[in-house]
């Protein structure tokens, strides 16, 4: 799984013609994903969405469901709203998409907002393990529990758990046996030093 938060667009409109039209047009924007909803509360059908979102909907729809949408979507990213104007009134704002805007202009407006999304605070996933983390990893591969490791290193169990979490984030490996494999392949420990029948 990639750690870069995705940028997605959520288009809400009861009209399939408008939805499908915007969907096709917005394929030309930088959004990685475009989701179409007829009503704001259909967001309940998408409990696993993650990343940053630009929501395009009528002012009435935004008024009605922005709180709900924020609640469901903003667990790990930001949510921005843009008005969808279906009347051919002359507007000149970057905060609204008009039915008669050209495809290029629509994508431009959408990109402007998506550019404002906070850049990925890159947790350095490729970083080498620190000395302490390596020590914790070595003890883990010997089958010690968090508590035992804490005692040996004179730190709290809480600290050991947070080291483990960092190891998982840096290596992408979550299970104890996976960590043992990693340690062997990276030559952090020697395969002869551990009981592989038990630990892998």
């Amino acid at each position: 799984m990639s750690n870069i938060p995705t940028k997605s667009i959520l288009v809400i409109c009861p009209s399939d013609i408008v939805l499908t039209g915007l969907f096709e047009i917005l394929k030309g924007s930088q959004a990685e994903e475009i989701i179409q909803l007829h009503r704001g509360d259909e967001i309940f059908d998408y409990p696993a969405l993650a990343g940053h979102f630009l929501v395009i909907a009528s002012p009435e729809e935004i008024e009605k469901s922005s709180a709900l949408i924020r609640k469901i979507l903003s667990t790990d990213g930001s949510v921005q709203f843009m008005n969808l104007q279906l009347e051919p009134v002359a507007v000149n704002t970057n905060q609204a998409v008009n039915l008669f805007d050209s495809p290029a202009l629509i994508c431009y407006k959408a990109n402007e907002i998506m550019n404002s999304f906070p850049a990925n605070q890159s947790k350095d996933t490729n970083a080498e393990l620190t000395r302490r983390e390596t020590e914790v990893l070595k003890l883990l591969t010997k089958g010690y529990s968090n508590k035992e490791i804490a005692d040996q290193l004179f730190v709290s169990t809480h600290t050991v758990i947070s080291h483990r979490k960092n190891i998982s984030e840096k290596t992408g490996i979550k299970s104890a046996s996976g960590m043992t494999m990693y340690a062997i392949l990276k030559k952090i420990i020697d395969v002869n030093d551990i009981d592989t029948a038990d630990l892998i």
Partner: protein
Amino acid sequence: MELFNENNKLASVIHKDHSLLPVINRLGIKLGFGDKTIRNICEEKGIDLNFFVETINVFHYEAYFPEKRLLDFSVSMVIEYLLKTHKYYIEYLIPENDRLIELFLAANPAESAENDLVRRFYTKFKDEFVIHMNFEERVMFPYILELNGAILNPDLRDAFIKKYPGYSIEGYEKEHSNMDDKMDDLKNIIIKYLPPNYDQNRGNAFLFNLFMFDKDLKNHSRIEDHILIPKVKQLEKVLMSHE
């Protein structure tokens, strides 16, 4: 992401997402469906149209999971689908994975220590997984089906309660996160940490299969955790209210 609907031609659905092939097989459809729409095919084969459409959409797009509607499907329909999925794992996906990992490892006999590790890790994951499915098929699913039977037919209730005093799915529920973690670890170990001199094509072939397995397995676990188990809890409450 576009979701599919009953008016789509099944052929164009498969062109857009061929990872759905095993899913439509499980739902009772074989290749050779010409230009028929999903609706045509489901009517012809007597397949529940809503179940078909929701199942392929949930598989097609991970973020989509309309829990409320999914809870409307009957327990027996969901279990039948899960059983067919197990059968697909046991009869095809696991043996295929075994074959591909062996081909992959055999291409690089010099790294025998590393090969052994990978093999051992994979085998451990696989054993755990097979035991898990066995448990579901022999203990958990029968319990659920009997519970469902007792709800549908009041005559069966006494016998059910006698057989399962203090009936509760909580005693049967098994974790999926362990297996999901190991699957992710296996992918990462092969992608990120394997020594460089291995056979690329065989490595890719194994990984393709593993990714397919991973996607299928996570979908399967999600159906069990978020549809089957909540449904069973509902049924238990219904039965309790009749006692």
